[in-house]
């Protein structure tokens, strides 16, 4: 014992952990972008890696879930952005432009992906659209042999024949498909299953069959005189344009519909020098097309007649001369939640046109299936979310299964089905959460809302849009409308990401702990912090000051 009250040791003898009744846990929570990405992309991860300039790492995060970053970066309706918490502080992060940047950056020299050793299993994929190729891609990475059958002369499905070049240049699609075939996937084009090769044969010869034929049939207009020349399905018009065929559309077409097919068809007609207009039976608010597409269409000077629908295609000598329409008004919501259009009595009127392009919905054509299988289908092939059907070796996904109608949903479906097929063929365990990339931190399934973020750590910076081609230039050709980010712009935009629920090791918890009870974990790149439970008093500052809701306070048992 010293002469006076002089200390002989430090206070670590005093275990203040016994004081607390709540304690912090570092977790990884779900960002709304990721939870709303039908493809299952780990959005936060690729965006934050991009923000650090780690482009290849970012690309690899994307490549784990999608073979189509360049494509999706252009054509995806990006529900991730609709849900982005940044919306409340300067606008949603421009996720699709970041994805597009990454896709483009490695388009011509993609980094090599690790591929599992060959399983000697062979899978037939029917349809080379986004669902089929996504599935093929994942199966190839898992070491399986894959053969894709495509009716068209070129692979890509709707990506190839449904989306015009000004939105998705063919060189982008070509390159991304080339990366899939480089993995050993065989794509047999110009081969229609059910005609050139029988479906039953595929079922016999292959270890599994994945059907992803998409929606290939257009729903009829349902107006008087809608059969015959001059009335064409939108997807057919787009197919002709994309395959370089004559469009067989007159110089004054009317496009009927409010979806992406309608938008694409109308804008393609404009680019072919036609005097095109659009008619939609509800209002702009209910239009299913991607908002930017509608905006661009209007900017390009195409008129949309809302709240009207054709009741008769008028013809003279078989040639279309116009359409008799009726005005609509919005009634009660229907099963889709949108307000149902109801005809207004005595409101018929006539407009002039010489072609009608119908784009009021598509459906699948299952005529290629043998009767015994077809008997078990309806408008679709019923499948669970992993593509499993009534037949153990038959899997289905994409629009033919769920009719979701977006590229991104098809990619996600294809990937999940691949996991199910892999599990079926190899006995490997199905990943519990096929939609997310691996993480070593504790995960919750809680989707982080804006209110849980600490926005003191985020600047109020506006969203940045890449420049588009000027309107008067772009309507003259099928050149791509939207521009890309420069690297500088990309970094600025990617850094706007809150990375909700994902800990990028910002150190706030470490720095702000009054008790020095949060320490860095040395040598472990994933579990970056450890709470010293011997000393944590449970004040909750770490959780309050975590910008990204990556710390949750739990009651001490």
């Amino acid at each position: 014992m010293p002469l006076m009250a002089a200390s002989l040791g430090d206070m670590t003898v005093n275990k203040t952990g016994s004081w607390r009744n709540v304690e912090p846990h570092h977790v990884e929570q779900v960002a709304p972008c990721a939870s709303h990405c039908p493809a299952g992309n780990d959005v936060v991860m690729f965006v934050t890696l991009a923000a650090e300039g780690r482009y290849e790492d970012a690309w690899r995060v994307l490549a784990a879930t999608t073979p189509f970053p360049g494509t999706c970066g252009r054509v995806c309706p990006h529900p991730c952005e609709s849900e982005c918490n940044r919306t409340q502080l300067g606008g949603a992060v421009n996720i699709h432009s970041i994805e597009r940047f990454l896709g483009d950056k490695f388009r011509n020299s993609p980094p090599e992906m690790p591929k599992a050793s060959h399983t000697h299993k062979r899978i037939a994929v029917v349809g080379s659209g986004p669902a089929g190729l996504s599935c093929a891609y994942q199966l190839a990475l898992a070491g399986h042999g894959v053969t894709v059958f495509e009716a068209h002369p070129q692979p890509g499905g709707m990506l190839r024949v449904g989306i015009p070049d000004y939105r998705l240049p063919s060189e982008v699609l070509d390159a991304e498909i080339a990366r899939i075939t480089d993995l050993g996937v065989e794509i047999i084009t110009d081969t229609r299953v059910g005609v050139d090769v029988q479906f039953g044969k595929l079922m016999d010869k292959f270890d599994a069959v994945f059907v992803a034929v998409g929606f290939t049939s257009s729903r009829p207009l349902g107006a008087e005189g809608d059969e015959g020349d001059g009335v064409l399905p939108g997807i057919e018009v787009l197919r002709r344009i994309n395959l370089g065929l004559p469009d067989e559309v007159g110089d004054q077409p009317l496009v009927v519909g409010g979806g992406n097919t309608a938008m694409d068809a109308a804008r393609s007609m404009l680019r072919r020098g036609k005097k095109v207009s659009v008619m939609y039976r509800r209002t702009r608010h209910e239009m299913p097309a991607i908002a930017e597409e509608i905006e661009e269409l209007l900017t390009e000077g195409i008129e949309i007649t809302f709240l009207a629908t054709p009741v008769e295609v008028l013809r003279e000598d078989g040639r279309v001369t116009g359409v008799r329409c009726i005005r609509m008004e919005l009634g009660e919501p229907d099963e889709s939640g949108r307000r149902r259009p109801v005809p207004v009595e005595d409101s018929e009127y006539t407009i002039e046109c010489n072609s009608v392009i119908t784009a009021i919905g598509e459906t699948s054509d299952l005529s290629f299936l043998p009767d015994e299988i077809k008997a078990k289908t309806s408008w679709n092939i019923p499948a669970d979310e992993l593509g499993r059907t009534f037949e153990p070796k038959l899997f289905a996904g994409g629009d033919v299964a769920d009719g979701a109608g977006t590229v991104t949903a098809a990619i996600g479906y294809g990937r999940k089905a691949a996991a199910a097929i892999d599990a079926h063929l190899t006995g490997r365990e199905l990943p519990t959460d096929a939609a997310t990339s691996p993480s070593l931190r504790d995960r919750t399934d809680h989707v982080v809302p804006f209110e849980e973020l600490n926005t003191a750590y985020f600047e109020d910076k506006p969203r940045f849009e890449p420049e588009s081609q000027p309107v008067d230039e772009r309507i003259k050709s099928f050149d791509e409308v939207r521009g890309s980010y420069s690297e500088e712009e990309l970094l600025a935009e990617a850094r706007r990401c809150f990375s909700c629920g994902s800990c990028p090791a910002c150190d706030n918890c470490f720095i702000f702990c009054p008790d020095a009870a949060i320490t860095h974990v040395k040598g472990d790149p994933f579990k970056l912090y450890i709470v010293d439970t011997e000393y944590c008093k449970g004040c909750g500052i770490c959780a309050a000051e975590c910008p990204r809701a990556c710390i949750v306070m739990k009651a001490v048992r």
Binding site: T48, C539, G540, A544
Partner: protein, 305 residues
Amino acid sequence: MEALPHLKNFTEVAEREIMTSGHVACPGCGAALAMRLALKTLGRDTILVIPACCWAVIDGPFPYSAAGVPVFQVAFETAAISAGAIRYGLDATGKKGINVVAWAGDGGTFDIGFGQLSAAAERNDDIIYVCYDNEAYMNTGIQRSSATPWGAWTTTTPGADFKRERKKNLLEIMAAHRIPYGATTTVAYPDDLVRKFRRAMSVEGFRLIHIFSPCPPGHKALEKDSILESRYAVESRVFPLYEVEDGTHYTLSMDPPKRPVDDYLNLQGRFRHLTDEQRAYIQQTVDEEWARLMHRMKVGEAIGG
């Protein structure tokens, strides 16, 4: 992938940990955090002088200490002279390169130690004097000090007798001593705090760092809100962050978008009783003080301080 992305909000805070866990500060204590951040910057070649204040307890009972550096606990009013004297003692015995830091609460600084503080400043004693200001005698149970703001409840300004006097402006008083360096800082801005300690370490003579330090029990605030309160104190301009060199040259450390003082008051139960008129009065005094600070900055610039 070898590592996750790292996005640091604060880049100046050293990894080294000098203050140990196990100290007996209340959960969410701003003063404990301030010490931890300060010591990270000051390093081990530091002697701390602690008068009666919360930290006299926080550091731990005999025979333990959480500080990790030599600590000299001194009488309530003697932080400044004790630190100064330690410097003279070190000089007299030829010991160099040591930070001598007085670490006092607002009672020991604004009130009982005020004369000795002034004397040490006038002598230009070569010390860093830190006042961690939680705006009342918290250690004794929340009695009012001359650092308690107008309108605050304390145990000696209870009920309708809430404090009717305004808080002393410590840094201005010390600037009037023409001290070489003075600064305000607070725990919500670790980089600012670290930079000011670093700056203080690079200056000789008397240096003052005034740290606004939230106290959950004393302010009747949530433990988790200490940083928020600290941040709001700055954003609402209740506690502007700035530096003064030689008593004349002013530098504003940050000027975030102005937040209504109500946001700050609302975090703290000690202001709960205030009426709208009384809150408006606080807003008015805060605006006035800010205007005065801006004026002093301009004057400082004009005379080339």
